[in-house]
């Protein structure tokens, strides 16, 4: 948190090192979020690039209200939404094309994990956009419901409800696939 405040301060003064450090620190978290959201690696890369180019363009006037990760996560969700809308793409989850980094130690566990992960990603892709965003930001972005509510411009209660609906749907889908 403290490092982030310094990084933002340095970036606001034009520091390339700060920009690099922020990218290295959060690229994986952001990329995970955006891949989960749009289900397409190339589109996710474009979104990640948009966010960091915009961050650089905003240097000098960046004001972080809560925390840097939340700020960037909010930004990438907006980008993903815009990109998907602009390109009128149907979100699907070509999971085979994605590189899963999770590597459990045992081959059987690997199989189970990949199967579960794959099923989860497909289930997430089937959620309505708002519920999908809330679920991903909460579970993968580690954002609070207050932050998510702010990002989606809804009440905290609505963010909670969307999350609850998302979890219920995911539970049904994963049970149906006999994965939980």
């Amino acid at each position: 948190m403290l490092e982030d405040r310094f990084l933002v301060r340095q970036l606001n003064q034009g520091s390339m090192q700060a920009l690099r450090r922020i990218y290295e620190k959060y690229r994986e978290d952001l990329f995970t979020i955006v891949v989960s959201l749009v289900g397409d690696r190339h589109l996710a890369e474009d979104c990640l690039q948009d966010v960091f180019v915009h961050l650089a363009e905003s240097a000098g006037r960046i004001r972080i209200r809560s925390n840097l990760k939340g700020y960037l996560a909010g930004a990438i969700v907006n980008r993903a939404r815009d990109r998907v809308r602009r390109e009128s793409r149907q979100v699907d989850c070509p999971i085979d094309e994605l590189q899963l980094e999770e590597t459990p130690p045992h081959p059987d566990e690997q199989l189970i994990c990949d199967e579960q992960t794959s099923a989860l990603l497909q289930a997430i892709a089937g959620l309505p956009v708002e519920q999908r965003e809330v679920f991903i930001l909460y579970a993968q972005g580690a954002m609070s419901f207050r932050q998510i509510a702010g990002q989606q411009q809804v009440s905290i209660r609505t963010a909670h409800s969307r999350y609850r609906y998302a979890i219920n749907k995911l539970r049904v889908l994963l049970k149906k696939a006999d994965l939980i």
Binding site: T32, A56, Q99
Partner: protein, 451 residues
């Protein structure tokens, strides 16, 4: 495990990473975008805040302001004795450098039977040409004194450094041209002498006649007007008693000693006081550039991370949260950071929130000095909230704070606000959520506030 938790965990275990080529491409694009940006020179104001808000510099500033104020008196009044303050003014205006020593002492009672005293001894050298340096010492719990901190400001090199020995931290920074020039311009009028002069003009004072200090013949002046204030902050003092004395060397016609005492009783009848004494003035003391060279930062010192001037909205919210923890409500005012500790102590005495009771229990076995430190640490977020607010005032961001009437239950009432653009304000509401609203919307929201 509950299925919802299991699903969250599954999702949390998913990780995707861009490949190296993508990393390179994105970074190249972002760096190119950053390279095209031009940066408004906002740093100087920030640095100025850091310098001006620094406690040690403030003491020095107060010393210089006092001199300016004493001088200012002469513009309107002669003393009726052998010394005219107009003469003092003329002489001080010729001064190119001076040094002085002094002390700043706070006394109070943090809880019944728990007196504390905190004293800082300082020495200052100011040169119109080379800059400013100060060193401060404080009491060592093991006896004697220990180095507290050092500050060096060089308008020539446009740099400053502050080293805090007690916490083994330091901060280094730059001044821009305007700030360096301003520093030199304000050499003899650092602070806001205009405002202070007006305050003094409104005060009644008396001539104390002749006396002797350290073998020097002096003539003294005194005011006990409670309206006489220095830029050290007195918000913790309600209906304070003031005693200000200035002594002028009858031979050199220059100030030789200054004393400022402010005290008041809190609601429980305990006395709080602050005493500020400046002495051992040496005028036009010979100085060299080498004297203003800062020493190397000792090994193992870390960069200071919470200086005044580095606060943001989150800092303010954390300070407000701490107010709720300690007092069950918000403090009445945030506009006077220097009185923060006194305000915290005073409010803490009355408070019976669990956090306040815990802290009071915790300090029961501590000495006065240990208690002072513990309470200072606990009250730091509130102090930083005040730094943030004072920074907004200095940056002319039209801030306002309504802690006197707004409570943590008032989710739709404006607790604090400041301007973020020509047409927008950032607002922290009573329940501590924050929103950006238009100026029109803010006007409507502020109509809802109690008188």
């Amino acid at each position: 495990m509950r299925t919802s938790k299991h699903i969250e965990q599954l999702a949390g275990n998913i990780h995707f990473r861009p490949d190296e080529k993508t990393d390179e491409r994105i970074l190249a694009q972002a760096e190119a975008a950053l390279g095209k940006r031009t940066f408004p020179d906002t740093k100087p104001e920030k640095m100025r805040i850091i310098i001006m808000r620094n406690p040690i510099i403030r003491i020095a500033v107060a010393a210089v302001v006092v001199i300016a104020c004493v001088i200012g008196l002469s513009l309107w009044r002669a003393t009726g004795s052998g010394i005219t303050l107009a003469d003092v003014l003329a002489r001080v205006e010729q001064v190119k450098s001076f040094s002085c020593k002094g002390s700043f002492t706070m006394n109070g009672q943090i809880a019944p039977g728990k007196p504390y005293q905190f004293e800082t001894l300082f020495s200052i050298v100011l040169s119109q040409e080379y800059g400013y340096k100060s060193k401060a010492e404080t009491q060592d719990p093991n006896g004697g004194t220990m180095a507290f901190g050092e500050i060096y400001v060089s308008p020539q090199k446009k740099t400053f450094i502050q080293i805090k020995h007690t916490s083994k931290k330091y901060v280094r920074g730059g001044l821009d041209d305007a700030e360096a020039q301003q520093y030199q311009k304000e050499f003899s009028h650092y602070g806001n002498p205009g405002a202070l002069l007006k305050e003094i003009m409104a005060c009644k004072y008396e001539n104390l006649g002749r006396s002797t200090i350290d073998g020097f013949g002096v003539e003294g002046f005194r005011t006990t007007d409670p309206n006489c204030k220095l830029p050290l902050g007195w918000s913790a003092f309600k209906d304070p008693q003031i005693d200000v004395k200035v002594w002028i060397d009858v031979k050199t016609r220059l100030p030789i000693r200054f004393e400022y005492l402010i005290s008041s009783l809190n609601q429980r009848g305990n006395t709080l006081s602050q005493r500020f004494v400046v002495h051992d003035f040496e005028w036009d003391v010979p100085v060299t550039a080498a004297e203003f060279e800062p020493p190397p930062v000792p090994d193992g010192y870390a960069v200071l991370d919470n200086l005044p001037g580095m606060e943001d909205e989150e800092t303010a919210i954390q300070g407000l949260k701490r107010c709720i923890e300690f007092f069950g409500n918000y403090i009445d005012t945030v506009g006077d950071d220097a009185g923060a500790l006194g305000a915290v102590v005073s409010a803490l005495e009355k408070s019976e929130t669990p956090a306040a009771l815990r802290l009071k229990e915790e300090i029961k076995g501590l000495t006065g000095e240990e208690t002072f430190k513990r309470v200072s640490d606990a009250g730091k977020p509130i102090l930083r909230l005040m730094w943030f607010y004072v920074g907004l005032v200095q940056q002319k961001k039209d801030p306002a704070y309504y802690g006197k009437t707004v409570t943590p239950k008032d989710a739709d009432k404006v607790l604090m606000r400041w301007k973020v653009s020509d047409s927008e304000y950032r607002v922290i509401f009573g329940d501590l959520h924050a929103e950006t609203v238009t100026a029109d919307a803010l006007a409507e929201l502020e109509k809802l506030l109690p008188e």
